[in-house]
């Protein structure tokens, strides 16, 4: 682990949900450090808190208590609008169900984060602290479509740019989703059961692609309950009852 420049650092991260009259403690104080360029698997059974952890790390939700530093910046207490910008510029999501927009072509799906970036005001500036790191490309003056095509090329689907998701196989869809996660040159890629909806052979291809991204210097956090998948990461963190196991 690269302790000098942690991408993720959480301190006593706590999340409480209100379910009816009762409070449910989903996270009970998690301290987690993930270094730049790490490929980490986060394992745990259903109800262990790993999904909640992923939502917090992905800035989709805010913690009840504790701190979450992303690239040294406290993002746990940001407004909804600021969190949207962080998701847009520093985080790439890969979902189990791919979550591509059915009416858009592969290329437009991949370009989607860049379109929201264009009106974000600050553009790519100010948050590209890790751009000098390994794996980042020169993204200066390229148009969103050019960058989307480059990302599609990276996952080997340049020839499917004009296809809609329904015209693609499951593995191809997940590759498009990976290209979408990559296109904004994020600090962190969060993959939630990325092979969960794929057969083992296709799943293997996707895992090899993730390993390649890791080799290129990307930081990946893989959330899974599948031990075989988790073993392909550099190391594994285990969660149980809202706590990180030592």
């Amino acid at each position: 682990m690269n302790d000098q420049n942690p991408v993720i650092e959480t301190q006593n991260l706590t999340k409480t949900y209100r379910m009816g009259a009762a409070d449910v403690l989903a996270l009970r104080g998690v301290d987690m450090r993930i270094g730049a360029g790490d490929f980490v698997a986060l394992m745990g059974s259903s109800g262990s808190g790993k999904s909640t952890m992923m939502h917090l790390l992905g800035c989709l939700d805010t913690p009840t208590a504790g701190r979450y530093l992303l690239e040294g910046r406290d993002v746990g207490s940001l407004s909804a609008q600021e969190r949207a910008r962080v998701r847009n510029q520093r985080i790439g999501f890969i979902f189990q169900t791919f979550n591509l927009l059915p009416r858009l072509t592969a290329l437009d799906n991949v370009a989607l984060p860049l379109l929201y970036r264009a009106a974000g005001g600050q553009g790519d500036n100010g948050t590209s602290r890790l751009d000098h790191g390994a794996g980042s490309r020169a993204t200066g003056k390229q148009s969103p479509r050019e960058r989307a095509l480059a990302a599609l090329t990276r996952v080997g689907l340049a020839d499917r740019a004009g296809h809609r998701p329904t015209q693609l196989s499951g593995g191809q869809r997940q590759r498009v989703a990976i290209a979408r996660a990559l296109v904004g040159d994020p600090a962190l890629i969060l993959a939630d059961e990325p092979t969960g909806n794929l057969d083992s052979s296709t799943g293997g291809d996707i895992m090899r692609l993730l390993a390649e991204l890791h080799a290129e210097g990307r930081t990946l956090l893989l959330v899974t309950h599948d031990r075989a998948v988790a073993e392909q990461a550099e190391y594994t963190l285990h969660m149980r009852d809202g706590r990180l196991l030592p």
């Binding site: 989709l60 949207a84 847009n88 510029q89 009416r103 264009a118 979408r180 904004g184």
Partner: protein, 430 residues
């Protein structure tokens, strides 16, 4: 997200559900078409008044006698409007700076051996200008649309001056055919004609005129007449006091009603008019402004307009709720899409904008179709309103704005609902 991209996104959202979209737009279409037709009715009435009362300026009050019909003959309801009534008016009514009077009659005009019997008009110095403003006649062969001048109305000589009218000078201006028939090609200017045995110097000849309306050309004889100063005509050509038409010019256009009160007071005094049992004055005259005429015409169009306007409002509200409904369905159907967009960085305002624009485009498309339907429906509206309906060009932007506003107002709630979705819940939505 740039506007073009938002637009593209919104358009593809609409295109995905063509039938639903079309049905939703129906309310907006009917509403906007009604807006166009309503405004066309008002505009038609206004245009009709403009056309038939062109001679009456907006700063003028027409004073006319009241007539009752007995045995098919019009009879004056009280005293006739006299030349004296008009002459004393500017002094009695401070808001009136001058009056123009016209008196009509028929008389004999003689030159040498030739005597002609024909109608004449006693007028003021401004009669040529009034004739141009009225726009019913024009010099023969005058190119359509060309601006008329007083000079174009004169074949020879000149028209009366104000001082000639004030002095009751013994001068006259002949119609084209009258001059031709009396002088057989000789120059009549400076010659003396005898009108009802009184000598009169010819100072001008009117150009050969024809009515602008081609169908009236065979009936009307605009060239067989002559003109005298109204003062001269009243003094010399009538045995009894003739009745005159009076047009009073008001100094301040904003005080027309006040001016009418002053005129009424003056005429009531001169005519000895009393109040009836109900306190109303039993006037024998009528005061008319352009606004009054317009009001009468618009009252006629109003009943129908109110119905149409009600239809417009109801249709737009129904259309608006249709849009709201379609947008709510759309938001629900696309919950997951919204979640994905939020996950990749769409802010709440991006989502609001996307759905608001979609609703606006929907209503705007309905608005465009509605404008077309409305324009096509104008002849129908006209047939229900005495033929008075005319497309008001300003109603098109108005209709588009109304459609747009409907879309935005009714699209706001669905858009806000989309933007308030929790991204985690939205991503989980099946």
């Amino acid at each position: 997200m740039t506007f073009v991209n938002v637009l593209r996104t919104a358009l593809s959202g609409i295109a995905a559900n063509k039938l639903r979209t079309g049905l939703t737009m129906l309310g907006i279409i009917i509403g906007v078409a009604s807006v166009i037709a309503t405004l066309a009715l008002g505009n038609g009435a206004r245009a009709a008044v403009e056309n038939s009362f062109r001679f009456l300026g907006s700063d003028q009050i027409q004073v006319s006698g009241q007539f009752t019909v007995e045995d098919g003959e019009p009879k004056p309801a009280g005293k006739l409007l006299s030349y004296e009534d008009g002459l004393t008016l500017p002094d009695a009514a401070p808001l009136i700076d001058r009056v123009e009077m016209t008196v009509r009659g028929s008389g004999k005009v003689r030159h040498g051996q030739t005597t002609l019997d024909m109608p004449f008009t006693g007028v003021d110095a401004g009669a040529l200008t009034s004739m141009i403003a009225d726009g019913k006649v024009q010099p023969v062969g005058w190119p359509a649309g060309d601006l008329l001048t007083s000079e174009a109305f004169l074949a020879r000589g000149r028209f009366f001056t104000h001082s000639e009218v004030a002095a009751g000078a013994q001068v006259c201006v002949l119609g084209y055919k009258t001059a031709d028939d009396l002088f057989l090609g000789d120059d009549p200017i400076g010659q003396t004609v005898w009108i009802n045995r009184k000598p009169c110097e010819v100072i001008g000849v009117i150009a050969e005129l024809e009515t602008v309306d081609e169908q009236e050309r065979t009936r009307s004889k605009p060239n067989e007449t002559f003109y005298l100063p109204v003062s001269t005509a009243v003094q010399n050509l009538f045995e009894n006091d003739p009745w005159v038409e009076i047009t009073a010019r008001v100094t301040d256009e904003a005080r027309m009603d006040e001016a009418k009160t002053q005129i009424a007071a003056h005429l009531r005094l001169r005519h000895g008019i009393e109040q009836g049992n109900d306190g109303k004055w039993l006037d024998d005259f009528r005061l008319t402004t352009k606004k009054d005429i317009l009001g009468v015409q618009q009252d006629a169009a109003r009943t129908f307009s109110v119905l149409l306007a009600a239809l417009a409002v109801v249709s737009l509200v129904v259309g608006g709720f249709g849009i709201m409904n379609v947008m709510l369905v759309s938001v629900t159907e696309r919950t997951r899409e919204i979640g994905v967009r939020m996950a990749v960085g769409a802010r709440q305002q991006d989502v609001v904008l996307q759905f608001l624009l979609e609703a606006a485009l929907l209503s705007l498309a309905g608005g465009l179709v509605g404008i077309l339907v409305g324009i096509l429906a104008i002849p129908l509206a006209a047939s229900l309103n005495a033929g008075l309906a005319l497309l008001d060009p300003a109603s098109i932007p108005v209709a588009l704005l109304v459609a747009l506003a409907t879309g935005i107002i009714f699209g706001l709630y669905p858009a806000l609902r989309a933007a308030r979705l929790d991204p985690i819940e939205a991503l989980r939505y099946e």
